[in-house]
């Protein structure tokens, strides 16, 4: 097992970083170590949407590009640092739609250069994505336009999960987008609530929810590591804290103060 700082060292300037959606296991515990580590110019890939972590990385000036289907704080409203960066033109945007992010990761998982996807024709989402292609479905005799999404191959995936075993197997349960992220990524960094002694692959019941060690580069223990987000089956979202952040981060100073003062419970 490693420390959070050791994990953050895998991140180099300019890398493409995959981060999961709010409810799937965000490693909030890694946010500050990533900011302290300081590798910037990052290209974030939100799988398939982003929230608090994305907003804080943007606010800390580490982000060059955001590829996402949405960035939001959910009940706490819009993501203030993201919204400001968009308004200021401070970040590049690759607006997507959820299944297109999944399709890009699936292409990488399959070792394919692209995946086809229905929908999208006639949207401005497609219009602004010059990295996507439209072809005529070769299985239809008459014209049938279909979009091809190129493989998304993140350099690093970062997420949080309930548990790992001593062999490096991580239990992700039914949050299989975490597996998809890991399959597609060169390096996968995982924080977990706890390490269990028995092998998670030994028992078929737990094995069904395992991301095998084969896909996991490094693991660190971080109790309540998703906080203020919740973790399924473990603890609920601390909505009040996210509200507190949303209010504070409306201004540059408020954001700076929040990031200086507020620390995860486990670290306080």
């Amino acid at each position: 097992m490693s420390g959070l700082r050791a994990l953050a060292k895998h991140i180099e300037p300019g890398m493409r970083i995959a981060l999961p959606v709010d409810y799937a296991g965000v490693s909030m515990a890694m946010t500050r170590p990533m900011i302290e580590h300081g590798a910037g110019d990052l290209h974030l890939v939100c799988v398939p949407t982003g929230g608090l972590q994305v907003d804080q990385l943007i606010g800390s000036g580490l982000v060059r590009m955001v590829e996402t289907s949405a960035v939001t704080l959910g009940e706490a409203g819009g993501a203030p640092r993201f919204n400001k960066a968009v308004k200021d033109g401070a970040i590049e945007l690759r607006d997507a739609t959820c299944p297109a992010i999944h399709a890009g990761l699936m292409a990488a998982q399959k070792g394919s250069p692209f995946m086809p996807m229905r929908g999208l024709i006639g949207t401005d989402v497609l219009r602004y994505r010059d990295d996507w292609r439209v072809i005529d479905n070769p299985f239809e005799p008459t014209g049938d336009p279909i979009v091809l999404i190129p493989a998304i191959k993140p350099d690093v995936a970062v997420f949080h999960a309930p548990m790992a075993d001593r062999n490096g197997n991580v239990w992700i349960g039914r949050r299989r987008e975490l597996a998809a992220m890991a399959y597609a990524s060169k390096t996968t960094l995982v924080t977990v609530e706890r390490i269990v002694e028995e092998s998670l692959l030994r028992d078929e019941i737990t094995a069904a929810g395992v991301l095998p060690a084969l896909y996991v580069s490094e693991i660190a223990v971080a109790p309540k590591g998703a906080w203020p987000y919740g973790l399924w089956g473990e603890y609920p979202t601390d909505t009040a804290e996210i509200m507190r952040y949303a209010a504070a981060a409306r201004t540059d100073e408020g954001f700076a103060n929040y990031m200086r003062r507020s620390q995860p419970e486990s670290a306080s």
């Binding site: 959606v21 409810y23 799937a24 799988v47 398939p48 949407t49 996402t68 289907s69 949405a70 960035v71 939001t72 959910g74 009940e75 819009g78 993501a79 993201f82 919204n83 968009v86 308004k87 200021d88 033109g89 590049e92 945007l93 607006d95 997507a96 739609t97 959820c98 299944p99 297109a100 999944h102 699936m106 996807m117 229905r118 929908g119 999208l120 024709i121 006639g122 949207t123 401005d124 989402v125 497609l126 219009r127 602004y128 008459t142 014209g143 049938d144 336009p145 279909i146 039914r174 949050r175 299989r176 987008e177 975490l178 597996a179 998809a180 399924w232």
Partner: protein, 249 residues
Amino acid sequence: MSDIHPREVLICTIARLLDGVRHVAVGASSPIPAAGAMLLRALKERQDARPVRISILGSLEHNFFTNGSAELFDCAGQGRIDAFFLGGGQIDGRGNVNLVGVGDYPQTSVRWPGSFGAAYLYFVVPRVILFREEHTSRVFVDKVDFISAPGASDEGVYRPGGPYALLTGKGLFSFDKSRPGFTLESTHPGFGLADILESTEFAFEHGEHPATTALPDTATLELLRGRVLDELEETYPEFAAELRRATAR
């Protein structure tokens, strides 16, 4: 029983719009669509009719999915989701939906979260119900600034799905994809055609004297205020409590 609450009208209207579906998916933070779907399910159960399946995104209790966040889209692509709800920061008269922002993309002056799954689901789910409680000309614009998902598609584009109705805090519209455009079907109690015209920038078809949106009967209202709010409480405790307070007077 107390008077019918405006939100109860919305919930009952949604239940009616959903009639006949086998499986309806409801996005996160959508208590009114969720309540409408739950009401339909309760009504069908009472009639011993074919059961209605509800998937509520972000809810553990109503999460039937076990293949990550891609499964909803796969499921829709397989034709296994009959109805879905879409909102929109802007919605125009062609049924185009904007979930991205106001002004010139990408440096929009107002930025909303983003398109989520709309650019796919709007194409493949047969019965998409556009739902936005706020009915103002700021929302219902002549032309959206960004098309997250179009209301209609050119011939030859794969498009089994699309808009079925537009429900707002003031009225109910149907959608005609051949034009494409909306037709005002009814106005909710307290609103008339003039209110709708005034708060809608886009043009729409309408009769001279649109009907009033149908109101639920007592039995339906009892079901809503009882079992449905109990079920809703699990996922939306604050919404359920508020509606309970408002209708308890």
